[in-house]
């Protein structure tokens, strides 16, 4: 079996789950005839037919609303946002319907909303966003962000089989990144939602991160080992809701210094909540300030130099880590 990209891993997951379970179907803009804007669903219309691979109008509220309705009727829809930025058009359906339905009516809403998020591809302000914080704040919906091909497939399968609404954020920069190619198990597997993973072990500092920033953080950790003799642990959160507090606390308790890295903007981001948890639970284990590296509080810029300046990267992580190490 050959090594697959992050994008192919997502395709495989959808395909295998649709084969496994008749209730699973895909809907979204251009997912059928066109095979999806990024070709995630290429060939699926041919394999599963127009009733299970549904091209929709450009109306996210309708896409998500239909998915919620279908889920209530026993289906397990996968709703694709062509770019995750457009999820805001379906916000009400997620916040007021999908995430509250089980509490209101006792009826689970097993939907997956997925789509390409993140920047670094010169996509400009409407094609680069990282919307996790809005949904992270909302009870009743899971939010997951895979960073590798293995996780992309395993977590999407877990998301499809989960009885809760799951927001599955793909990072478009990782879709075809050659270094992310990997051979996946030929047998069926899932990556359970709610478990973080240690990507690199260390004792001097913990970096908590997710998504594309996992790779920037790993590069920074490597540099810190080579140039600064620092042993940095990198934890890939993978699942933001539910959050794997156990792994996070265990690591920081050991390293005593923590750097939080995310691509989303700083204020009210995932890092803010992580910082609050850490200061509440581990205050007396901290040997330095909980430090965040994130995008500045500004709309995503279009100009490439501005985009470079805006996004967190290895250099910014290095700077923050060195300051924290010296604290």
């Amino acid at each position: 079996m050959s090594a697959v990209t992050y994008l192919e891993a997502i395709s495989q997951a959808i395909r295998e789950e649709m084969r496994r379970d008749e209730a699973v179907f895909l809907l979204g803009e251009d997912v059928g005839t066109y095979g999806g804007a990024f070709k995630v669903s290429a060939g699926m219309l041919e394999e599963f037919g127009p009733e299970r691979v549904i091209d929709t109008p450009m109306a996210e509220a309708a896409i998500i609303g239909s998915a919620v309705g279908a889920a209530l009727m026993g289906m397990r829809p996968i709703a694709e946002m062509q770019f995750i930025d457009f999820i805001t058009s379906g916000f009400d359906q997620i916040i007021n319907m999908a995430s509250k339905m089980y509490w209101r009516a006792g009826m689970p809403v097993p939907i997956v909303i997925r789509g390409p998020s993140g920047g670094g591809t010169h996509g400009g302000p409407f094609h680069s966003s990282s919307p996790e914080a809005w949904f992270f704040h909302t009870p009743g919906i899971k939010v997951v962000v895979p960073a590798t091909a293995y996780d992309a497939k395993g977590m999407l399968k877990a998301a499809i089989r989960d009885n809760n609404p799951v927001l599955y954020l793909e990072h478009k920069l990782l879709y075809r990144m050659p270094e992310l190619r990997e051979e996946l198990p030929s047998e069926d597997y899932v990556v359970p939602l709610g478990k973080a993973i240690m990507r690199r072990e260390g004792e001097d500092m913990t970096i908590l991160t997710y998504g594309a920033m996992v790779h920037q953080s790993l590069k920074a950790a490597q540099t810190l080992e080579e140039e600064d003799d620092l042993d940095v642990e990198v934890i890939d959160l993978r699942s933001l809701t539910p959050l794997d507090r156990e792994t996070i606390l265990e690591s920081v308790k050991r390293t005593n210094k923590v750097l939080i890295v995310h691509e989303d903007t700083l204020t009210g981001g995932i890092g803010a909540e992580l910082a609050a948890i850490l200061s509440e639970d581990l205050f007396e284990y901290l040997d330095g300030p909980i430090t965040r590296v994130a995008a500045p509080d500004a709309p995503f810029p279009y100009a490439p130099p501005l985009e470079d300046a805006f996004l967190p990267n290895e250099d910014k992580i290095l700077n923050a880590a060195r300051k924290l190490a010296a604290y």
Partner: protein
């Protein structure tokens, strides 16, 4: 409501004290200002007077136990019938009573604290709560917890983090250091002083942090390993801190002391017979320093952590006194208000207290400038280290006869002395320091054959 008795601050750089002995038992009646306990610190031992009259209801700190300044160490229940003293709540942490210090000494404590408190705005009313403030150190939360768990004195552990912060690594290194000598160096058979464990615990940290060679793990034929006394450690810490805190610059002037020397030769004996204490060059220099400070008030100031300069209006001269166990710098309060004879009397008094180990809390606090006299050992030029948080320190070296070119290019034998001033270059430049020295010299050279020292 019982009145708490707090651990007093016995000296400016002292953050904690040890109860040497309790002079009263639980249940005993005690008068106000009657001695309640003996307190031992690295600088001095002192008796602690009771802040109120009442019954000692509870002893909270055992003998030989060391606690931070401001900690409640006992509770005294005041009897309502004899409660002529101020309300219990208002009683501040008492300081050990001054023996011979001027009456205003208590006020000085308050003034100085609010001054050295820097920008934290500690007012007089909240003094007792802020006793530890000036000692405040940068410490990570983890380091604080580790120190507590291991019973360590955080102030004894030098920090290597940004801005001198004490971090995990510092605590771990300290614990390692502490373990090493304790295991390897055989303790002498002589009985250890009461607080010995604390002393030896203090020994380790000074070395690694300041890059001194680590102590050899084993004593051998060629070397002897000495665990410094607590006072030696306190001096070491202070010296390193001072050098690290103030950029020292030193400047020297030469002073013609002929007239003073001749006056002393002639009057010294009579003076001692008459007054009961001796007189030397020191009070003359102190007097001149007061004049110099009046002209250059910056010499009597402190640079604060938040980058302000506090100019002190009172001139309290510290005078360095060598004792058997080390150097102490007791304070002569309001030196500018005293005559030369008065200065001489005070210098004699504090030197005597220092040598008999009877210095009080006030003696050890609040100096605003220090005069040091290594000249008694025949030194001719010294480069002194500033007593923090002062702006300067003046060293008087030996007065020796030298051939000197005087007026009209004649050569004469004169009594000459070098005065070396080390000053904090953050506060003053060479011009200010030189001007100050000039004023001191002018004053010293202004005396004629007849000098009125009263």
């Amino acid at each position: 409501m019982p009145t708490p008795v707090k651990m007093p601050r016995l000296g400016e750089s002292v953050a904690e004290g040890t109860v040497g002995s309790w002079l009263k038992n639980e249940g005993d009646w005690i008068e106000r200002d009657e001695s309640l306990a003996e307190i031992v610190t690295d600088k001095i031992n002192a008796e602690l007077p009771s802040p109120v009259a009442g019954r000692l209801t509870k002893i909270l700190v055992k003998v030989d136990e060391t606690v931070p300044v401001g900690t409640d160490i006992a509770m005294i229940e005041e009897n309502a019938d004899v409660s002529a003293s101020p309300p219990a709540e208002a009683a501040p942490g008492p300081d050990a009573a001054p023996v011979e210090s001027p009456a205003r000494a208590n006020v000085a404590v308050m003034d100085n604290r609010s001054a050295t408190g820097g920008g934290n705005g500690a007012g007089g009313a909240t003094q007792s709560a802020h006793v530890g403030e000036e000692e405040r150190q940068r410490i990570s939360p983890l380091a604080r917890r580790l120190a507590r768990e291991h019973g360590l004195d955080l102030y004894a552990i030098p920090g290597t983090g940004t801005g001198g912060r004490v971090r995990k690594d510092d605590i771990l290194a300290y614990l390692e250091q502490q373990a090493a000598p304790a295991a390897a160096v055989a303790q002498p058979a002589a009985p250890a002083p009461a607080a010995q464990p604390v002393y030896s615990a203090l020994a380790a940290p000074i070395e690694p942090a300041y890059g001194a060679p680590a102590a050899p793990s084993m004593a051998g034929e060629d070397i002897e390993i000495v665990t410094p006394s607590r006072m030696r450690l306190a001096i070491a810490e202070h010296m390193v801190r001072s050098k690290r805190t103030s950029p020292h610059a030193t400047t020297v002037v030469e002073v013609d002391m002929t007239n003073i020397a001749k006056w002393l030769e002639k009057n010294k004996e009579d003076f001692k017979k008459r007054e009961g204490y001796s007189i030397s060059y020191v009070p003359f220099v102190m007097k001149a320093v007061c004049e110099g400070i009046r002209k250059f008030p910056l010499m009597n100031s402190s640079w604060t952590e938040d980058n302000k300069i506090i100019i002190k209006k009172r001139i309290n001269l510290g005078i360095a006194v060598a004792t058997d166990v080390g150097l102490v710098v007791p304070t002569i309060y309001d030196a500018d208000q005293l005559t030369i004879a008065g200065l001489s009397k005070q210098v004699n008094a504090v030197a005597q207290r220092a040598r008999s180990n009877k210095l009080t809390v006030q003696d050890m606090q609040n100096s605003t400038f220090v005069v040091n006299n290594p000249g008694t050992f025949g030194t001719i030029i010294s480069v002194p280290i500033i007593n923090q948080p002062n702006a300067g320190i003046l060293s008087m070296d030996a007065v020796v006869k030298r051939p000197v070119v005087i007026e009209d290019d004649a050569i004469a034998v004169r009594y000459m002395m070098y005065l070396s001033l080390s000053f904090d270059h953050r506060i003053l430049d060479g011009a200010g320091a030189g001007g100050f020295l000039q004023a001191v010299r002018t004053k010293l050279q202004s005396y004629g054959r007849e000098i009125d020292v009263y």
